[in-house]
Amino acid sequence: MKQVLEGSHAVSEAVRLAKAQVISAYPITPQTHIVEAISAYCANGTMNSRFLCVESEHSAMAAVIGAASCGARTFTATSSHGLAYMHELLHWASAARLPIVMAEVNRALGPGWNIWLDQTDSLSQRDTGWIQLYCEDGQEVLDTTLLAFRLAESANLPVMVVLDAFFLSHTFEPVDVPRPEKVDRFLPPLSPRFQLDTANPYAINQMAAPDVYMEMRYNIQFAMDRVLGQYDLLEEEFAAIFDRKHGMAEAVRCEDADIVLVAAGTTASTCRQAIADLRSKGEKVGLLKLKMFRPFPTDLIRQNLARAQKVAVIDRNCSFGAGGIFAQEIKSALCNVDSPPGVFSYIAGLGGRDVTQDTLEEIYLQTKTSHTPARESIWIGLNRELVESWRN
């Protein structure tokens, strides 16, 4: 049934439908609406679940790790500093092979304190072994959250569902909220591969010496590889019930594009309008929307970008000393391709600064008129006066 929901509630509705059993979270703007809604559902009995109001994000992840180790379906949500605080345990959750699902609202890291959209928080956790799925709109958020539980429980890997601060989390859109029976067909109750059980006692997560550790790590990579291979099958199952599909990435008019813009999240949504307008002016431009970031769908990226002459990657994040993170990954995916396109890396929209169609057109023009990128990362939309004020 179609409802007008803010992005946060697309998450909480999915969590309700998924019948997550143990939820533990610590509030941080702009994740709060997610956990408040779930907390209300637990309190009024809509969800027969436990909500643990822990005293920090680190404990929130620890609590769901504990619960998942006992075979419960678990969920948490966070953002920015909360995610950073959980960092140690993000590594832990994936190596413990726990099917935890987390909603992560992309928000800037401080100082200075900044509660608005920035992708650095989730991307700087790319090495933690979590599956990362980026969402563009409210429907995608709900669908991805449901998918995340199935995916996590099949691969025994935790899944992060990423949505933009405010632009998505607090934006109201029509969202189809499916009926519980339909969801149950797609998402049966969790049947854990292992769990703590006094009738069959064993220890988990203990010391692993050099002679076995690497093989355990390899098993994680193995699972990640399988996810890449199996994700389409999962989406087909989902589509068969809900008649929707999002793909690991979405190529919009890339077949004959000279220049392809690459973006994730709501930025991709703005890109759609931008390339439609540019195309109408005769520009041969396309969009590759990134959804799955981990595991990184290298083959799909190559397929969709190989024919382009130039690629303009829009990063609303920065790995200082290196550059935009999406750009680095795209470059690395393209490095062994025959005559790869030139990759232009743009840093834009940090800390909630808007990325408008004008921004995107500027990016397109700069890409079109430059033979090669002027520098490794080009910062777009800087306030020149402000920069000059401290530069000289």
Binding site: A95, A96, R97, N205, A208, M216, N219, L233
Partner: protein, 586 residues
Amino acid sequence: MKKMRAFAEQLPLYLPRSNSSTVGNKTGTWRYYRPFYDEKTAPCSAACPVGEDIPRIEMLAAQGLLRKAWETIMEENPFPSVCGRVCFHPCEASCNRGQLDEPIAIHCLERFLGDKAIRDEKPHELAPPSVTGLRVAIVGAGPAGLAAGYFLSRLGYECSIYEAQKEPGGILRWGIPVYRLPEDVLRKEIQRIQKQGIALHCDTPVNGKLLAEIAKSHDALFIGCGYGRSIAIKIPGEAYIHDGHRLLQSVRAGKSARFRGKAAVIGGGNTALDVARTLSRLGAIPVILYRRRKQDMPAFAPEVEMALKEGVELKELVAPIRIEAACDPSSVTESGYQVTLQKMKISAGEVRGRARAIPDGTKTEILTVEHVFRAVGAEPEAFWNMESGERSRQLSLSHCKILFRERPVVYGGDLTNEIKSVTDAIASGKQAAMALDIYFKKGRDHIESALQDHLVESGPALSMSAYLGRGRANRTSHLVSFDEINTDYFLSAPRIVPATLSAHKRSRSFMEIEATLSKNESIKEARRCFNCGICTECDYCRIFCPEVAVTVDKAKRFINLDYCKGCGICVTECPRNAMVMGEEKL
């Protein structure tokens, strides 16, 4: 559908999850030092002349296994009710608990266990001995002879005891007053010995003729006839002095006269005390005349105190030099005597470990009394003097002497013992029994070395239990000292004090002074015992072992050497030093 199933296909998981136990690691390879269960000797057992297994007795009593505790006594001593009353308990003087608070009232517990067994009237079930077919004749049914009979019959010898008096018991029956040792208690314990199949011939004094006869019809002889003759005092007026031993004997024979007035008792030993206290009960006012000081008296100090409490007067540092009849020398009945006492003083130097008293100049004192008794010692009847004979035909042991004639003749009891006590007499009977058994089974040359194997600590007490190859044989002779006890495990608690008759009541009758403990009191007192050196199954070794390497099988504990790391906690924690750390034997 195939595609759906394909996605649901389970991924192989490889993560840190245990599938086996650490029991696969034999951590025993870590150690270089290991614990051993090592039962040792308690000082009380070593001090006991008959080497009773006191820590074990108290352990069993503390657990309420009273019958088993009694049987443990009976292994080494057939007279618990007797000894619990009359033994001077050197065990208690050496008791390690005494260094924490107060020694265990071992003699009270022994008495309780003995009395309970008498009350229960259950026979003593002994393992039937392998009959040797040999016969031993025993002269004297005192504690030495009776003990010899008891132990010899347990070893399979047919015994006959020849006793001059009309009832057996020796000093137990005819010497010690009934307020210390009631008659029925003694009778029951003697009867139990008899029931083992010993032939007892009372009213049968052994003269030369009878001695020759029984020598011929037996394979060995035990002479335990005791000191039957009291030593006289050679001073003017000695005829006026009555024999204290004979007084005691006549009282025990039921012929007790009454006495009035003051009665002097010359002597300082236990007999002198018994005489004085008996006189007190017969109506007299006794005064003991002793040539040294109170602390020099050979009598058992607690008995001295009891005597004084009963109104017996003690005159120290006096020696009678003359006795004269007072007033009317022609009177037939006693009418009083004047005793001239030489005052004595202690001089430097000792004689045989005792302070030396010498006359204090010419100071004298006159004491007027109605009666004079002597109790200055006894000696054997001349008939029983041991032959000096050839050295090579004799073997002197700590508590007996063996003459090897046609058949071995063993002298024991007071005849041979350095310490003339009831318990030493029993020890003598035991030693004689073991010596004879070794003689008959292995030969004369093996006696001393074989006896060495069954000493309690370094002796002289011997353990019959060890001789018969029972558990006690495994105890080491290391004597457990107080420092080796882990006192952390013991809370201070007072020693039980048995009920006693008031001093007023005591001196009016021959009723037994001290009561037997109740069962609850006994168990409570037994629980105070450290049980030095033996395992009481307290289980602290097993409770604390970090390696779960202590196992129990049929009440015995074992160290699992596959896992023991040699940390030593078990040994350090053992409350009673029943373990030891030692090197690995590779």
